[in-house]
């Protein structure tokens, strides 16, 4: 497992190691409440729905400028992205293969001596490009909190138990049909410091490569029916409901294994590929050496 190489400064999204409960935090007037944030979230959502009615194109990606997610205020570009055609290197993606990733890295429940706590789940799906072609032989990385909502990361000071049998990171290489499959534990919700009583819906971080570097994406997968969706400024950075729904996995009983684990399906669509494809690439053998 990779060492933690980036000792980070205290981030405003970590929870201080204070008292175990937030209930007796001083009600500082400066602390913003969920009601304050929810009002901002609603007002942005209403403005978007009005614009849609007036004929605006639906948005499919998060807004870079989304003030309810406070950490984004100084970290979003103010100028619009500059459109350009991808050239040369941008039309290709780095190659990953089975020498990079061991097959067992897709099972997050067998990385230690004992079984992790929590609800064992299978998360499986396909990685496709915008034309519906499978993205074969490419790297998928995930990371997540444990069943109690605690990350191994040392800056996560949420007073919930660390699970000595769960690190929460996994990798795999997609199959010829773009398929991926992880066995893991359902992550818990966790508190953060965007505002008073801010909680993130349970999620798994996903990092994905396409066949071209311009398709590179990092995102988060959520679980169906989470009551925290309307309250979460990060999920709500995507203002379009249909677009937000694309981050929510479906419970899939055909993936569920008897007396073992519940199954969730989540397919990921990358942006369209621009390069002219050769037949070999379309069959998806590119990116894996035979020398292993």
């Amino acid at each position: 497992m990779p060492e933690e190489t980036n000792a980070q400064l205290e981030s405003d999204e970590s929870v201080p190691p204070a008292e175990p409960k937030a209930a007796h935090l001083p009600l500082d007037k400066a602390i913003e409440t969920q009601a304050d944030l929810s009002a901002e979230i609603s007002s942005i959502g209403e403005a978007y729905r009005r614009a849609l009615k007036d004929g605006a194109q639906p948005e499919t990606q998060p807004r870079l400028d989304y003030p309810p997610y406070r950490s984004s205020i100084l970290r979003h570009p103010t100028k619009s992205l500059h459109h350009t055609d991808p050239e040369t290197i941008e039309l290709y993606s780095p190659a990953f293969g089975h020498q990079d990733v061991h097959a067992l890295e897709s099972d997050l429940t067998i990385q230690h001596n004992g079984e992790p706590q929590g609800e064992r789940i299978i998360v499986a799906g396909r990685v496709l490009d915008g034309d519906g072609r499978p993205v074969a032989g490419q790297l998928v990385e995930i990371w997540q909190a444990n069943a109690s909502g605690r990350y191994i990361h040392k800056r996560d000071q949420h007073p919930a138990p660390i699970d000595p049998n769960f690190t929460g990171i996994g990798r795999c290489i997609t199959g010829p049909d773009g398929s991926y499959r992880f066995t893991t534990i359902k992550p818990g919700a966790y508190p953060w410091k965007n505002h008073l009583n801010a909680w993130r819906p349970a999620h798994i971080h996903f990092s994905l490569f396409g066949t071209e570097f311009t398709q590179r994406i990092i995102t988060q997968m959520y679980f169906p029916g989470d009551q925290l969706f309307p309250l979460d400024p990060i999920y709500q950075t995507i203002v379009d409901q249909d677009a937000r729904d694309r981050l929510v996995a479906s419970y899939d009983h055909s993936l569920t294994e008897p007396e073992w684990a519940l199954g969730y399906n989540w397919d990921i669509v990358l942006t369209g590929a621009k390069r002219t494809w050769t037949e070999n690439e379309a069959y998806g053998d590119a990116g894996d050496d035979d020398n292993e």
Binding site: E13, H76, P86, W143, I169, I234
Partner: protein, 192 residues
């Protein structure tokens, strides 16, 4: 391009604060072993809109080799010290500085029908507080004629253009700072 129905892409989300135990790996930022022939240091600082260096960003670079060839070799995650794969990942340190050991990319062949592009390194930027990844390019500063003919650079006004061109350091390395917002804001790219 096929005329089949396009699927709508899945949205991105922020990398968040806790990637540090998941995304970094051993020698992730060493496309070549430091000190090996032809290797250079690429470094820079990532700044927010208040001009503060940010301590929780992670970058990826993807580039051709010194001869301008696009490399399609595996082995980036388990580096053998010899194979140049063209891809690397580097988290910034506490002072917001990232570093890579790499080579100067050579000029690649032009896309048919287009002017030859000046050599550049493609970059993806992820950070806590950044709701989706950003792309940019790090152009080498050396060949002024190629820079002048570059289709992207020539579409930008001079102030913005210079945000994409690295500085050549005295030791032969490259420095390229990234400003997410405000004065000198880096040009970020949209390919769709």
């Amino acid at each position: 391009m096929s005329n089949s129905t396009k699927l709508v892409p899945t949205p991105g989300q922020t990398v968040g604060p806790f990637y540090g135990y998941a995304l970094p790996f051993e020698k992730d930022n060493e496309l070549l072993a430091p000190g090996s022939p032809g290797s250079i240091r690429l470094q820079g600082t990532v700044y927010d809109g208040a001009g503060q260096a940010i301590p929780d960003a992670i970058l990826e670079i993807w580039q051709p080799d010194a001869d301008g060839n696009v490399v399609q070799r595996t082995g980036s995650l388990v580096r053998d010290g010899y194979t140049f794969t063209g891809w690397g990942r580097g988290a910034v340190g506490n002072s917001g500085v990232y570093t890579f050991t790499t080579v100067n990319p050579g000029p690649t062949k032009p896309v048919p029908g287009k002017a030859a592009a000046a050599p550049f390194i493609s970059v993806a930027i992820f950070a806590r507080g950044l709701t989706n990844r950003l792309f940019t390019r790090i152009y080498l500063p050396d060949n002024e004629e190629a820079l002048a003919n570059d289709p992207l650079l020539s579409s930008l006004d001079p102030e913005r253009r210079k945000t994409l061109i690295a500085r050549r350091d005295a030791d032969g390395g490259l420095t390229f700072d990234i400003r997410l917002q405000g004065e000198g804001e880096t040009v970020f790219l949209d390919f769709q």
